[in-house]
């Protein structure tokens, strides 16, 4: 299994994701430079966290036009696994690979803290190692992570089960007090209809080792590493 981690100018979770892939999971890793025009034969592309192009204007707005993104789009169209984390999620929404948009946190503040995520889909290559309605402890770190979609889109993605993670309390209850940013329906992560492009605001790479306070994020990395074939053969 080979992971490709995209590096835009201003990306900073690249090394953290790389560290988990390479040092914790022991899988093959390649960094994909934003100016590159091929994906180096990787099986899963990670768009990591950061402030690509400073997140100026809007998060992800400029990054989506980077040369590498054209290849990421083609790869996604062929069914390849694309995983946007934090800024990566924002880029995927801007690029139209995922529905909706991420707007300023309701608090208007950047938030870096632990959250609980209710896992609503376990039939995906990204979540296959999670149990039904698992609650994962995963940190967030963003100022613009409030998920928005217009009412029609929102009800469509809900109907189709495209919401993969929702902010919840420690007992798995999806309540307003567990929502750190004002996301509609407490949405923390969504998948495309085909099931191969995932975007999520929380940072699983920050909780993939016990010394960092938790290992729930590793479940997602493991899921991908061991289940990628499911999508590729579909």
């Amino acid at each position: 299994m080979k992971f490709g981690v995209v590096v835009f100018p201003g990306t900073w979770s690249d090394r953290d994701c790389g560290w988990v892939v390479d040092q914790v999971l022991g899988h093959e890793l390649t960094y994909l430079w934003h100016k590159d025009t091929d994906l180096g034969g990787c099986d899963c592309v990670i768009l990591p966290g950061g402030f690509a192009y400073g997140d100026y204007l809007r998060t992800g707005a400029i990054a989506r036009f980077a040369p590498i993104m054209e290849k990421v789009g083609e790869f996604a169209d062929r069914g390849g696994l694309v995983w946007g984390i934090c800024n990566g999620f924002q880029v995927l929404c801007e690029a139209g690979l995922l529905p909706g948009a991420l707007i300023r946190n309701a608090s208007l503040e950047f938030r870096c803290e632990w959250t609980n995520l209710l896992v609503e889909r376990t039939d995906l290559p990204f979540t296959a190692k999670c149990g039904e309605r698992d609650v994962l402890r995963v940190p967030i770190a963003h100022g613009e992570g409030s998920y928005f979609a217009d009412p029609a889109t929102l009800s469509r993605i809900e109907q189709r089960g495209q919401v993969v993670f929702r902010y919840c309390d420690a007992d798995g209850r999806v309540v307003p007090s567990a929502n750190p940013n004002g996301s509609l329906h407490n949405i923390a992560g969504v998948i495309n209809t085909r099931g191969n492009v995932l975007g999520m605001m929380p940072h699983p790479e920050r909780c993939s080792e016990a010394e960092l306070g938790g290992t729930d994020g590793l479940k997602l990395f493991r899921s991908v590493a061991e289940n990628a074939f499911k999508v590729l053969v579909s």
């Binding site: 707007i103 300023r104 409030s146 928005f148 217009d150 004002g182």
Partner: protein, 85 residues
């Protein structure tokens, strides 16, 4: 040529910033304020050319980059030479 682009959050989108500004103004005693929306103002200077063409190009810039149609509306003015209002 100068384009003055205004990008505003769509009415259906929450505008926490607008709300906060409104509260801030209220706290300062500006109680006559009934609503505030906060958007972006983008001033784009262009090499001179036909206005028609410029309009087409700026429209394109807005669609592609300056505004996100999921959450934002935009409109703009063009002016031949730079003079501040």
């Amino acid at each position: 040529m100068i384009a003055r682009v205004i990008v505003t959050p769509k009415p259906v989108v929450n505008d926490p910033q607008g709300l906060t500004v409104k509260q801030g103004l209220g706290a300062l005693g500006f109680t006559e304020v009934t609503d505030v929306r906060v958007g972006k103002y983008i001033e784009v200077k262009l090499e001179d050319g036909s206005e028609h063409e410029a309009r087409r190009r700026v429209e394109e810039m807005c669609r592609q980059l300056l505004a996100n149609h999921v959450i934002e509306d935009f409109h703009f003015d063009l002016e031949q030479e730079h003079k501040r209002r």
